[in-house]
């Protein structure tokens, strides 16, 4: 011990000047990867699992239809009856047609060709609802459909 020099080295303070840069990098990463939630989902649904899934591209041309049990602001199921939600509000199937026709008119011409409807329906939905919905979509001339699903892993099989 006594061989060492006595005056203690002071540990230099950690230089945190680059910390903001690091965090900004993470921030930009998230801004690029993630997309913002545009709608508040008012129904509770669990999409079926599959393996042959394709990703939705061109998000601006996609309309979303949710089918599930309505829930309140705290995420609790209120009613046991299935409800249809189109983009931002709860509707019924016949109203969707008018809405789709109107939103098609608002789209740019490129988007109009790629117009897709993403159906996010609960697993327990009866096919009657789906068939009626598909018929409505055909009447509204929105023919590209995407049945939303999650990728099947061994766990949720």
């Amino acid at each position: 011990m006594s061989f060492y020099r006595r005056h203690g080295h002071e540990i230099p303070a950690l230089n945190t000047a680059s910390l903001p840069d690091l965090i900004f990098t993470i921030l930009f990463f998230f801004m690029l990867v993630v997309h913002m939630r545009k709608v508040t989902v008012k129904v509770k649904y669990q999409v079926p699992a599959g393996t042959e899934l394709t990703r939705l591209v061109n998000k601006s041309a996609v309309s979303y239809i949710y089918i599930g049990k309505p829930m309140n602001g705290w995420g609790q199921v209120e009613k046991d009856r299935l409800q249809v939600q189109m983009n931002d509000k709860l509707t019924s199937i016949p109203e969707i047609k008018q809405y789709l026709i109107r939103s098609r008119e608002e789209m740019s011409s490129e988007d109009r060709q790629a117009m897709t409807v993403s159906i996010k329906a609960d697993q327990q939905t009866d096919m009657g609802t789906i068939i009626d919905l598909k018929q409505t979509l055909r009447e509204a001339n929105a023919l590209k459909v995407n049945y939303s699903g999650v990728y099947r892993t061994e766990k949720n099989k």
Binding site: V34, R37, K59
Partner: protein, 182 residues
């Protein structure tokens, strides 16, 4: 000039200690307000509502080239009227499509009381069969998987193995047949 003091005053450095905190807050804001879930699903093309489509479909249907799937109201899958396991749908479709080539038609009819989950699974199995066949064909022809082929190559293969699924819509009482092809 001479009266001024000579020593230049230094501009003090801006204190940037809180920049990290500010950017952390922005980061957390983005984490909270965004969703990471991928939008993916089975893409399908619905048939347009046309008055003259009746003639079209009738002309093409040949009973030997027709594979008829039904989903009963207790979620059982029937092939040509007989009970069928959902696990064997893929192999059956693969065999059927490869033996019948371009002329085949797969008909899918779901009861109004059956569940969406079963329907989705059958669709998934059929699409899996098609993609297996397409992959096989592209491996033979171009030596790579279908997804890795160029757009023209994919077009060529999808012309050889078209997805021909027709869905029967049961609307309330009467039946309405519509040919759904991609």
């Amino acid at each position: 000039m001479m009266f001024r003091k000579r020593n230049r005053r230094k501009v003090p450095g801006l204190n940037t200690t809180s920049t990290a905190d500010i950017s952390f807050m922005l980061l957390i804001l983005f984490l909270v307000s965004s969703s990471m879930d991928l939008d993916q699903g089975i893409a399908r093309q619905l048939p347009p509502i046309d008055k003259d489509r009746e003639k079209q479909t009738e002309a093409m249907v040949n009973s030997r080239q027709l594979m008829k799937f039904q989903i009963s109201k207790d979620n059982k899958v029937l092939l040509n009227g007989k009970d069928f396991k959902i696990g064997s749908v893929r192999a059956a479709v693969e065999k059927f499509v490869s033996s019948n080539g371009k002329g085949h038609i797969i008909q899918l009819q779901a009861d109004r009381k059956s569940s969406y989950n079963t329907y989705f699974e059958v669709q998934n199995e059929i699409m899996a069969a098609y993609s297996a066949l397409r992959n096989h064909r592209s491996m033979e022809e171009f030596g790579k998987a279908y997804d890795l082929c160029s757009v023209e190559q994919q077009q060529k293969i999808s012309d050889e193995i078209p997805v021909r699924i027709s869905e029967v819509y049961e609307i309330q009482a009467q039946e309405n047949e519509g040919g759904g092809e991609q």
